[in-house]
């Protein structure tokens, strides 16, 4: 359910928007996707740690184990799937932080959320492109997680954008960067208003 009515009461019409990207209806899909992707990544990490003997793959057969055992997957001191799981953890945890006005009351949380989605999305896309190009094999669950990372971008981008717009608006009204970034400027505005 998108909050389209009562824009003024919710305060998301500062930039003339017709809906609130911080509404729970906008954030819950990201949280659900993040949780699913995190468990997939942890399952893949369990194989890389040797805790499970094989990995389910309906499309590429042994391709998944070839990818997970490759030098590409062990470039970092810890398995790449574990790093992926950490990234998705940041996504869903910061998807839950704050209320329905957080785009201006907690811009720092939205920015961290954005860092979890956008730069992490680049890593996921890069790894998805690398599998066939460098390893020469496919990995079904890795591809599913890359698709989830890409699907989360449009879901999250509206809130990130409105948060940046709200910060710019606060700074134009005289607030300093840190006051706008921390949300202190928005809290003061609410108290004065």
């Amino acid at each position: 359910m998108t909050e389209r009515s009562g824009a003024g009461a919710n305060g998301f019409d500062d930039a003339g928007w017709e809906y609130n990207p911080s509404a729970w209806s906008e954030r819950i899909p990201i949280v659900v996707l993040g949780v699913v992707a995190m468990f997939i990544a942890l399952y893949l990490a369990a194989y890389q740690f040797g805790w499970v003997d094989s990995v389910w793959d309906p499309l590429f057969g042994d391709g998944t184990t070839t990818v997970l055992d490759s030098d590409l997957s062990h470039l970092f001191p810890v398995p790449d799937a574990l790093l992926g799981g950490l990234g998705y953890l940041i996504d869903w945890v910061f998807g839950l932080v704050g209320g329905t006005k957080r785009y201006k009351t907690l811009p720092w949380a939205v920015v961290i959320f954005g860092i979890g989605i956008i730069p992490f999305g680049l890593t996921s896309i890069f790894l998805a492109l690398s599998m066939p190009a460098i390893v020469g094999a496919g990995c079904f669950l890795c591809a599913v997680n890359a698709v989830i990372a890409v699907v989360m971008i449009p879901y999250a981008w509206d809130e990130i954008w409105l948060s940046l717009v709200a910060m710019r608006s606060m700074m134009r009204n005289g607030a300093g960067f840190w006051a706008a970034f921390s949300g202190r400027a928005a809290h003061l505005a609410f108290q004065e208003g």
């Binding site: 930039a15 003339g16 928007w17 017709e18 809906y19 990207p21 030098d71 590409l72 470039l75 956008i118 999305g121 680049l122 896309i125 890069f126 492109l129 690398s130 066939p132 190009a133 460098i134 890409v150 971008i153 449009p154 981008w157 509206d158 954008w161 409105l162």
Partner: protein, 103 residues
Amino acid sequence: MGRLWEVAPPATWGILTVAATLLLAGFVLLSHSLVRRKAHGDRYTGIAYPGRLEWTFRVGAGCLLLGLALWAVELAAPVWVVAALGGLAAVAFGLEAVALTRR
């Protein structure tokens, strides 16, 4: 760095990094195009319309197609696949160039 070059040659890393960055830029620009329509209730005004909503769509689609073309090059895909993707990317950027001249 030596470890990286053992896994794949520098050219491969370079091409894949550029391709992934183009794909991400494409997804973000297309998302921005969708978000602005949803946020402001804007209506479709034509793919070559010189407005700010459409440039995100044209450039986003161009980045996406160019990224896929680069990936196809790295995968040694058939020439017609690379040419088709590259050609479609050129059409998207060409439409943006047309729109720029109308501004």
